[in-house]
Symmetry: C2
Subunit: 216 residues, 2 copies
Amino acid sequence: MVNEEMKQIWKIPEPTLRRLPWYLAFVKLLKGKGETFVSSTQIAKEINVDPSQVAKDLSFVNISGKTRVGYEIDALVNVLEDFLGFTSQHKAFLFGVGSLGAALLQDTGLNQYGLDIVAGFDIRDELAGTNVNGIPVYHINDFPAKQKEFGATIGIITVPVEKAQEVTGQIIHGGIKALWNFTPFRIRVPEHIVVQNTSMYAHLAVMFNRLNSMNH
Amino acid sequence: MVNEEMKQIWKIPEPTLRRLPWYLAFVKLLKGKGETFVSSTQIAKEINVDPSQVAKDLSFVNISGKTRVGYEIDALVNVLEDFLGFTSQHKAFLFGVGSLGAALLQDTGLNQYGLDIVAGFDIRDELAGTNVNGIPVYHINDFPAKQKEFGATIGIITVPVEKAQEVTGQIIHGGIKALWNFTPFRIRVPEHIVVQNTSMYAHLAVMFNRLNSMNH
């Protein structure tokens, strides 16, 4: 039974998980406008996805639509937020309090999506004991002790490229199971570790290239 | 001839453009270690991509490898940085100086990748005339005038979700051709406009879901 359930959860495809936040944002917008029902066709049209895909994606979520009227918006918002994990707090450590790292510590918006960054770590002695936006910064050597104290489940990687793989090893050794990699380096991890890459530089490359080709 | 060239550039697939920065980061790392040559097999192994894919991706870039030894590292770094647009500065405006917007203004790292954020805009009167990290913040009403002054080509969108589509319209009307969308909203744009979505919330959703399924 437990195995059945586990299988069920693991089966959710990553593309579905990536689309659901788009749906949520749109449905919340409708909610703000005072709407009460939304159909999968409406969502599909707005997000530019096939309606059958929307219905399929929402079938992973525990909600059912009504013929003709669709999904009840209040319920859909609640169920999606819950399902995506945005309503519970997930403790995270951030590694590398440089320019991007410090910037992320200052973004309180992530907190509203269930990410609770409880500490930052850096190799530079002069940063130990400081804080950014009220979040304490420790020396990387203190990570094992702080991990015992906080029990973070997510590690955010904002170290310089040449340290990315080394820090990845340290984080995993410390028992953290999910890594959010902001470096342009492709970190390598054991199979059971979750990795999400936010490749800001790759996005820049695409924009620059497309812009350039316009000017030719 | 010009048309030929244009076609050539437009033909670069987005997945290739997204992989090239991974290659660049790895090759720069080798450079830092004093290595002089790198083979596509070596890159493939490190990045976990098929070797033939690496060779194909690099065929879009103006560099050729030598049999047996591969690519000269110094040349490859230069050519890739240049090709990806990281060596020239691209002027950008940021819209929405909230928590995430202000955080991005503070990330000087983007500058090293060719993104030059020259101004921020916000709807709140009290922010006009301030600055973040030396970057001036103006009222959104001043955008048309400032666009004449700066001629930005990229618009970074960090406004609240419910303002995303409206601001998108304003930015495009102002003549900006590429949009970097950080909101969880799926913005709609005319065909000739470049859009890149950095969906931090989608990445969080995937991590939370995978972590949850581990605990079941």
